[in-house]
Each structure stands twice: as C-alpha cells, then as structure tokens.
Symmetry: C2
Subunit: 169 residues, 2 copies
C-alpha cells in the first residue's frame, strides 16, 4: 500500500505540529528534572548498578540530536560519536543544560521539514536500526520518558521531590 | 480549523493501526516486567517512599481500561472507581496478569471504533482532565512507560535483570 493511501484509508492519530508540542513538553519536564537533580549526584549517583543520571540524559540528547536530523533529512550519523557511548560528556550540569537547549532549538528548526512521507519512510536509524521513521521517533520520545522515570526514583531515594509527571510547561 | 482540514494540511505522524501495534508492544514489555517481578516484592517493595509496583501497574490498567472505552465511545467512567485510587487491587500477581490480559483484549475490541475525529475530539477524560483524545491516549501510554521505568529500578535494586527496553514482542 502506498504511503498516501495508508494515511488516507486508516485514521491518523496525531498531526506533526501536535507531536512536536507533545515532545517539547516532555523535554521541558526532563529539563526540570535535570535542574532539580543535586549537582554532585548527577554525575555519580546510582541504584542497583545502573548508570548515573548524567549518562541517561546524554543518551536522550544524542538520540534527539541525531534523530531529528536523520528523520528530517535522511542523513543518519553513526552512533559511534554518541557522547553516552564514548564517554564524552559535558563536565557540569550547566554545560549539559546548555547542550540540552541547543537540541531544543535544533528540533524546532528541523521539524517543519518532516513530511508525512518522511514519517512513514523505512530507514536504518543511526545506520543500524531499521524501522519506519515515525517508529524511531516514538522510540526516542519513549526512551526519554523511560530514563526520566528512572531519574524520578533516584531523586526520591535522595529525598528530593521531582516535578509532577503531568507538568509540561 | 476543522478537524479534517487540520489533518489534511498538517502532516499526520502515525496511523491508528500503527499506534495500536506500538501500544500493544509496550504492553507486552510491561507484562514481562510484571512476570519477572518477585511475587512478594510486587506488593510491598518500595524505594524512597514510592508506591509498590502493584499500585503502579493497577494505575496502568485503570487508565488503559477506562481510557480506550472513553476515547472510542465518549463514555468516560469517573476515576472514583479506579483500583489504584480506592485500593481495590487483585491479591496475587497471577490475578493481576489476568486483568492485564482482559484489558489487552478490550483495547483490541474498542480500538477500531476510534475515528480520526474521535482522536481530535476535545473531552474531559475520566470526567476530569480536559484535552484532545489523542493527547489523553499519549498520556496513558507515556504514564505506563514512566512507571515501568521505575519498576526497572526496583528490579535492578533487587538484583533482577529486567527485559531489554526495545523488546516488544
């Protein structure tokens, strides 16, 4: 079935501008979780042998950064340069927030280029993971929610109250 | 702007059947996390004063059960009857998995009734939370990912390896 046929015959769930707002809302919440995280614990605190929150945040940044560009343009960077893979992370929380904000701008810049056809195009994301681009995009958003939820447990165990899950502004 | 205009002029991201597969994939993963959770810890284990995993799972069940029916039909049950609110939970993990599987069937039954217009319709979800139905649906899926991610930390701290995040079959 052709892409346009697929979309016309089966109900679309969410429009491009709506999902952008949804994602950026999630990113605002994640940014708050980074801000509230105790500075020293951000780079070191762990439960059950899991990665510290800084590495989980770096993963979110790497996937969002390379992901939005790949989905928009078809130019997929390899994951070899991922900071969360090669350990090349910002050294302070402030620097991490700066990189976070740069990616927020990049998402808004690349997003309007993504057509209905691009969302449905099957590609090897990051040169490795084959799937429709909408599926890769949902994976990137879901992965942020998954790891941020883990950050909530880190915070609770440190006696810090995280922002409400429904707060996206 | 009318619903149809909106969808026709702005790129749709994902079709109804694709999001159903995506959600049910997530639910398969969550089911595995419930299965692997040590039986006694499922109802009692907590980190940082958070709710035990049984209550988080009950919340997922309540939202999915009432949510898919509300989005499909416009008949929203009040949250007063939610098991995770009034403490009316299954007493064993096996019973919880049985309820989980009933909701899986219910989602598949109600889903085909949800039209593009229903996804965009603004309603008071569960009689309380106003928003477009697609947004409520994404909230329900995101909430499951969020709390399941917390379950991963519970498991890791108990020395149990959770299933890979990308495993959805």
């Amino acid at each position: 079935m052709e892409t346009n046929q697929l979309i016309e015959t089966i109900a679309p769930v969410v429009a491009s501008n709506q999902l952008l707002e949804h994602w950026q809302g999630h990113r605002k919440l994640t940014r708050k979780v980074i801000e509230i995280f105790p500075d020293d614990k951000f780079f070191s605190y762990s439960i059950g042998g899991m990665r510290p929150f800084c590495e989980l945040v770096m993963e979110m940044i790497d996937l969002a950064d390379g992901g939005v560009e790949g989905i928009a343009t078809g130019n997929w960077k390899s994951g070899d340069n991922f900071g969360h893979v090669n350990g090349n992370l910002p050294k302070t929380k402030e620097e991490m927030l700066h990189v976070w904000d740069q990616v927020t701008i990049k998402i808004n810049e690349f997003w309007p280029q993504i057509t209905a056809e691009r969302f449905q195009q099957v590609e090897k994301a990051f040169g490795a993971y084959e799937g429709a681009n909408y599926s890769t995009l949902l994976y990137i958003i879901d992965n942020e929610i998954h790891h941020r939820g883990q950050g909530y447990v880190y915070l609770r165990s440190l006696g810090v109250t995280p922002p409400p899950f429904w707060e996206r502004c």
